[in-house]
Point group: C2
Chain length 334, copies 2
């Protein structure tokens, strides 16, 4: 279905408008100096260990703006509510949205609500769209990239990686997907694993201030595997990662083994991968580690001309091609 | 439910941020010089006489920006799709969106799609959010208002009407709601009545170029009755309208009589009410009439200190208070 839509979208819509156009299929479009993005949240259940749909809806859209190098300015909130939905739950979710927005320093400025009859929706769906301006540190970041790389560059984006760029994960991966799946299906891992849903704009701002970042992206749907393949495809560069360097909580590893799920393919909601010119990588890593969201950041690999696609050096010293997941191993987690 | 949400929204969200903040509950927020709005479309059925959900989703959001005095720049498109939804229908809807966007001269630059399992949504829901810049004619419009009115004024809005302002309807009302209801319920009026769904930005731009406009709004959910009450409340001014001057197609009048529906309370998707300082009203009317969307525009009343709330002079010469509708007489028409 995703492929089908993507194909239609690029065929039917006017896809080459803007500095980062629709055709880039990046986390946000950049039009007339404004970063603009949208996401609908259909997570099930609405409340889960570590968060709820309200936290997701605000953090997800803030992060999509932030990874483009934008400072989030404002969000919209549109709700589709099934008739008979609990007023107390709705209020609780709105409080989550409000608290998460405050944490990120972004305002919810416009909204809409539609009530549909019982059975026409599954409780509650939320759409948040967001607008952002160039981060105050973006010019500096770009200048730093240029000083080592020597090419024109206006916004970090999926097509901007070059051989040698160091890839940093901002923290342990897999927590959101495992927490959701475990809680929903009653596997019990949720006593240990909580969703990582959180806005990352402050952490990312710190990294941009150091400079040298060529691309950033949050590994949501399709996880790290999908993200790295998008980077590799769009930047036409191979990517090497080392399994032992990918930060993961023990409980997430066990859960994935027991459930037969590849942790690289599950969605995260409070993590970013950051590609940095090699000369600046250690400084950016240090800046990330100085923030609460990035304290467990580490280098997981690099872009490299010497491989095709995404290649992982496994724990046992072997090599494994990391492909983009075909289906969605864990549906309705965001 | 609407009231309940409104109350929560104003309590929980940071509602006083921006030039036109959330608290204004206007058609779009204005933040940092950017107009920003969102709407989810849950219309049922997806295809109806005169349009489909795709036309609605683009026109509705373009119109919400336009009535604030903004020129639409870009739209987002987020779809929630029920598993098994027809690919052909989806493609048809995307072509409608594309055609309507082209008509309006606006681009769809960012999007999202979520597929939910069978039974978790009713076919297809679309959210469009939109961003816009100050219309090139807005400064001129404001200057014209100021020359007769003498007060500071930056964007047309619901709170800006003053006694004497002439109220113009851009064309016949009730068509969208009647077409939808009739088609859905099989009443058969749809052979004559078609939805009016259309983008109004070009028409509105022509009117702003003339100048003198204090407020504009599209009578969607809750119709003209709701719109006029919002203006009256927010501008703290009475509004007088004359029933015989309200443009309505005969088929709409008959349908409303037979179905026991007040045509003032049904939603429209290609009409605007426009309030103009009296000195400029005839010129604005003439400009509207020169456009295809506004060719049947006419003056329907005026703001007046001499009444409280919204008062209608009826066909029979009597007076009737027009109240904001309590419920939604025709659910899921947008």
């Amino acid at each position: 279905m995703q492929e089908f839509i993507r194909e239609f979208v690029l065929k039917e819509f006017d896809h080459d408008f803007g500095e980062i156009p629709l055709a880039a299929l990046d986390d946000a479009a950049i039009v007339d100096g404004i970063a603009f993005t949208t996401d609908s949240y259909t997570v099930k259940p609405l409340f889960f260990p570590g968060g709820d749909i309200g936290v997701l809806a605000v953090a997800g859209t803030v992060n999509d703006l932030s990874v483009m190098g934008a400072a989030p300015v404002a969000l919209s909130c549109a709700m589709i509510i099934e008739e008979g939905f609990s007023g107390d739950e709705l209020h609780k979710i709105m409080r989550s949205m409000s608290a998460t927005a405050k944490k990120a320093g972004v305002r919810i400025v416009t909204g809409d609500s539609k009530v549909v009859e019982k059975g026409a929706a599954d409780g509650l769906f939320i759409n948040t769209s967001g607008i952002g301006r160039r981060s105050e540190h973006l010019d500096h970041n770009i200048k730093k990239v240029k000083s080592y790389r020597g090419f024109k560059f206006t916004w970090p984006n999926d097509s901007a990686l070059a051989s040698g760029d160091v890839i940093i994960a901002s923290g342990p991966i897999g927590n959101h997907g495992v927490a959701l799946l475990s809680f929903r299906e009653g596997y019990g891992f949720d006593t240990e694993v909580r969703s990582d849903a959180a806005p990352l704009n402050h952490m990312i701002s710190r990294a941009l201030k150091v400079g040298g970042i060529t691309a950033m992206k949050d590994p949501t749907r399709g996880g790290v595997a999908n993200l790295l393949n998008e980077w590799s495809d769009k930047s036409r560069i191979g990517i090497k990662i080392r399994e032992e360097d990918i930060p993961m909580d023990d409980a997430v590893v066990s859960a994935c083994e027991m459930l037969g799920i590849d942790p690289l393919e599950i969605g995260n909601e409070g993590k970013a991968l950051i590609a940095v010119v090699p000369e600046m990588a250690q400084k950016v890593l240090k800046a990330l580690k100085s923030t609460s969201e990035g304290r467990r950041a580490c280098v997981i690999g690099e872009a490299s001309k010497s491989v095709r696609g995404v290649m992982m050096e496994t724990h046992t010293g072997g090599k494994r091609v990391v492909e983009a997941p075909v289906g969605d191993p864990v549906p309705r987690i965001c």
